[in-house]
Subunit: 258 residues, 2 copies
Amino acid sequence: MAQDWNARQYLKFEDERTRPPRDLLAQLPLDAPGLCVDLGCGPGNSTELLVARFPGAQVMGIDTSPDMLASARARLPSVRFEAGDASHFTLEQPADLIFANAVLQWVPDHARLFPRLLSLLAPGGFLAVQMPDNLDEPSHAAMRETAHNGPWADKLAGAAGARSPLPSAEHYYDLLIPHAARVDIWRTTYQHPLEGIPAIVEWVKGTGLRPFIDPLDGEERDAFLAAYAERLARHYRIRADGKVLLAFPRLFLVAQRA
Amino acid sequence: MAQDWNARQYLKFEDERTRPPRDLLAQLPLDAPGLCVDLGCGPGNSTELLVARFPGAQVMGIDTSPDMLASARARLPSVRFEAGDASHFTLEQPADLIFANAVLQWVPDHARLFPRLLSLLAPGGFLAVQMPDNLDEPSHAAMRETAHNGPWADKLAGAAGARSPLPSAEHYYDLLIPHAARVDIWRTTYQHPLEGIPAIVEWVKGTGLRPFIDPLDGEERDAFLAAYAERLARHYRIRADGKVLLAFPRLFLVAQRA
């Protein structure tokens, strides 16, 4: 899927979006690493966490999106950012950490990808991954339902295929443990209090909704968004303080190379 | 339910059991608090985390179990530990933190309990709670099924009632937000790699299995444990490295008093 990611839209919920990489980083028993790669670095918010946590390390960021890379370079001028994608990037030396926050859910063929990433690590190095696991949530089911039920159905026939459902935690354990000294997996569902249905739409506009609205323009896009918001309203009830809670499940994985 | 908790059994999986309170503590935006209460302190492993995180604070531990309190006092001689239970304990001054790790799932009537705990806080103080939410896991369904299907069925008729299923995250949000400046809720399922089915039995022996095996003795208890292990083996498959993964969901909640 060729698409550029809009850094400004993505950063609208920066506090909430930075919590998963913070939580992932907190589980890394890693001191004074050398090379640390932020794979799918986006606008550099996760890269900034790596720089702060490992002040002596050589941190580099990799992303496919020119817009995200420009935003990351402006944010962290002293860090090296390079264009590249998870399935093909190579490194001049083995890494002590490959940190992949909210990116690998877009990359196919994990059975090849994950062992490949482990092979780019030095012995004892860590692969740390966080992936949204929210395709079954009402927020995402409503995208597919809206796409199927409107004049845009043909144009959006392929949109739902941009991401596949994640395999189970057990599947990733079996995939990684033959190459790893230790595999730690957990899944967290965050409950984000947001200012009503429009805030849910704004949130997903920066990521999951892109394959659905990028093929549409003008009035058709507006109509899609209105129909989507209406479906959301059936599932997300207003809480005691007038907000809605967006439940957001994410899969986390830390593997140490043997 | 009158039962004493065995500190030695509970601490067999200390690393794994200390991770949830560590994760809870990591989400507290709290500097230099005064009084910090570790409610349901158990053998003091969570209390030790509070002492390390807040070196200047006045930390105290409260528990109902004499065995746990003795173990906690031996571990942390300089900390004040008192007998008390969540529904009735009182404090001489408002607390800046009430930390309740893996205890409130045993306490009834959360609709009264949670606002009561908030009322024991100073303005701006934090209530931090972690509760196992695993009654629907095969590990716990198998306890109930084993209890219903054996010569012990009458003796264990009340065992499953020792804990009630937890209400939803949304329910706790609505319960707390009228009294709170901010409520942060998340639910994490940890995947613990354990050394086969016997290790799962050992794990739950320290906690969830107690109401089922305490009323039995000798041969009957052994027979129950064997039948239970057999049921577990149907659900937990051996992974690529010969271990089993124990999925353990837990609900976390941090509320700041308004």
